[in-house]
């Protein structure tokens, strides 16, 4: 989509019926993602972060407010006009399809303009990008949880999506792969819009242009933090630490201020 794709969410209300009662999950959430922007959403477990992503993907409808996919000039777009890549909290691979086919199923309309050889190349490239080149013929139950999650990422990226929705996508990866995938996502910054739900402050600060902090359920946005550090970001820099601290404070979990220690006296 030329000019990029953004997301505008205004005063969204979403409740689920739970038993005889009604569980209010999102209570007037507003946030936006400009074209090409990387946005993270942090908040306590059960705050409704996943619900938010599902509303954006069109898998659920809000009871109030609006969720809109927009183009560069803020005109509303139909969901079918854009290519969406989504990584669920669990890999959600089809158990009967090889990793190759699982990734291929992510191609969407991009497949139509491709020859068979081009399709195969695109899928192999996506697998390779996620470090899965030797495993294309494996079935999901034959690989580890981390590998399955990386295959789900490959499936989300293979169509070169306009909008990427990530629901704690790196939770099951080991440290090495986690850092590698973070760098992969960092390398795409500015080129596609991405909204990521995460529990990791480090990850959010490393990747995001903007971070939204949600309150406890029923969720509303309690803070919006711009991260304007140059990329790739240096985790050991003072700016990075400052950002992390701001996020922590917004989450209401700021570390205790350090007590002043005894002064060192140098004598002699």
């Amino acid at each position: 989509m030329a000019g990029g794709v953004g997301v505008m969410i205004r005063d969204v209300v979403k409740a689920f019926t739970a038993g005889a009662g009604r569980l209010l999950v999102l209570d007037g959430v507003s946030l936006s993602c400009r074209p090409g922007e990387f946005v993270s959403v942090l908040g306590p477990s059960g705050a409704g972060k996943t619900t938010l992503l599902r509303l954006i993907a069109g898998l659920d409808r809000p009871q109030g407010g609006e969720v809109a996919i927009v183009d560069g000039s803020r005109r509303r777009l139909d969901r079918t006009a854009i290519r969406l890549g989504m990584v669920f909290q669990e890999p959600r691979l089809l158990p009967w399809a090889s990793l190759f086919h699982n990734v291929r199923y992510g191609l969407q309309d991009r497949a139509k303009s491709m020859s068979r050889a081009e399709r195969e190349r695109a899928v192999q490239e996506a697998l390779e990008l996620l470090g899965l080149s030797g495993f294309s013929s494996y079935l999901p139950h034959q690989v580890s949880g981390g590998m399955a999650q990386r295959a789900a990422l490959a499936r989300a990226l293979v169509s070169d999506p306009d909008l990427l929705l990530l629901d704690e996508p790196l939770g099951s990866l080991d440290v090495k792969n986690r850092l590698a995938v973070q760098d992969l996502l960092d390398g795409m910054a500015g080129r596609r819009s991405c909204i990521m739900v995460t529990q990791s402050i480090d990850e959010a600060v490393y990747l995001s242009d903007r971070i939204y902090i949600l309150s406890e359920r029923p969720a509303s946005v309690v803070a919006e933090i711009e991260v304007s550090l140059p990329r790739p970001r240096d985790r050991l820099s003072a700016g990075f630490a400052r950002c992390q601290r701001r996020v922590l404070e917004a989450l209401g979990a700021a570390p205790r201020p350090r007590r002043p220690g005894p002064d060192l006296k140098v004598e002699g």
């Binding site: 898998l59 669920f88 959600r92 089809l94 399809a97 499936r155």
Partner: protein, 250 residues
């Protein structure tokens, strides 16, 4: 689900012990031969029937009937089950009728089927097909209806066409229970066939048993029963193998 075509050695222990006890009791005259012939006599009947080709003839006829009825039932039951599972309104429309029909024992239809399709192969194959149809249909239907919502959502996110939803999600997602249905259907067909052959036939394993009763040949009767069990066992084991080859994730 990991059973080879032949039973594991441990599983053979009990049958072998029973055979020895049976033979032992027979040799000591503890069993009345006209009621329970000795294993040796049954074995002798088997070699005789094999030599004359009579056993092979009955087995062949029975197997062909089972195959025709079972295949017809599967060819109808699988697509019908997928359609019913996938389309809730169709399920609402036809569900009650199907659940009514499935309660009727296949054997109860035999007199009517004979009237409708004649005393020949038609009536017997129809009974087999009737017996096999419902397990295939109902298991496939339940599986297709219960294909995980999360996979359907995946199809929505990645814009699967209706055909792709069917071929990529519903059909492969239903294969496990579908195979369970096919295995149930196989043993149901076998039972229904024997009943049909005992009631109205001049060939097949069921007929062989009826005839041996009239001729007072308990050894042949036992032979027929043993062959039925063995064939049923082999067919089921083959179905399990097929499932492992076709749907290894189930």
């Amino acid at each position: 689900m990991n059973r080879a075509l032949l039973p594991k050695p441990l599983g053979l222990l009990v049958p072998v012990v029973i055979l020895f006890l049976w033979q032992g009791l027979s040799s000591r005259g503890a069993l009345e031969p006209s009621m329970i012939p000795s294993p040796g006599t049954v074995l002798a009947a088997a070699t005789r029937a094999l030599r004359t080709g009579e056993l092979a003839r009955h087995v062949e006829i029975s197997l062909i009937r089972v195959a025709r009825g079972f295949l017809a039932a599967s060819a109808a039951g699988i697509p019908a089950g997928l359609a019913l599972g996938w389309i809730p309104s169709l399920r609402a429309l036809l569900g009650p009728l199907l659940h009514f029909l499935r309660q009727i024992p296949p054997v109860a239809w035999i007199p009517l089927f004979i009237a409708w399709f004649g005393i020949g192969e038609g009536s017997k194959i129809s009974v087999v097909a009737y017996a096999a149809f419902f397990p295939v249909l109902l298991n496939t239907e339940a599986a297709a209806a219960l294909v995980s919502e999360s996979y359907l959502e995946l199809g929505e996110v990645y814009r699967f066409s209706r055909r792709e939803v069917l071929t990529r999600i519903i059909v492969p997602g239903s294969l496990g229970p579908m195979f369970t249905g096919l295995r149930l259907a196989l043993s149901n067909s076998w039972r229904a066939l024997v009943a049909a052959e005992m009631l109205a036939s001049a060939s097949g394993l069921g007929y062989m048993i009826v005839l041996s009763r009239e001729l007072v040949r308990p050894d042949v009767m036992f032979l027929g029963i043993a062959v039925m069990g063995l064939l049923g066992y082999a067919m089921d084991a083959a179905a399990v193998r097929l499932q492992k080859a076709v749907a290894p994730w189930t």
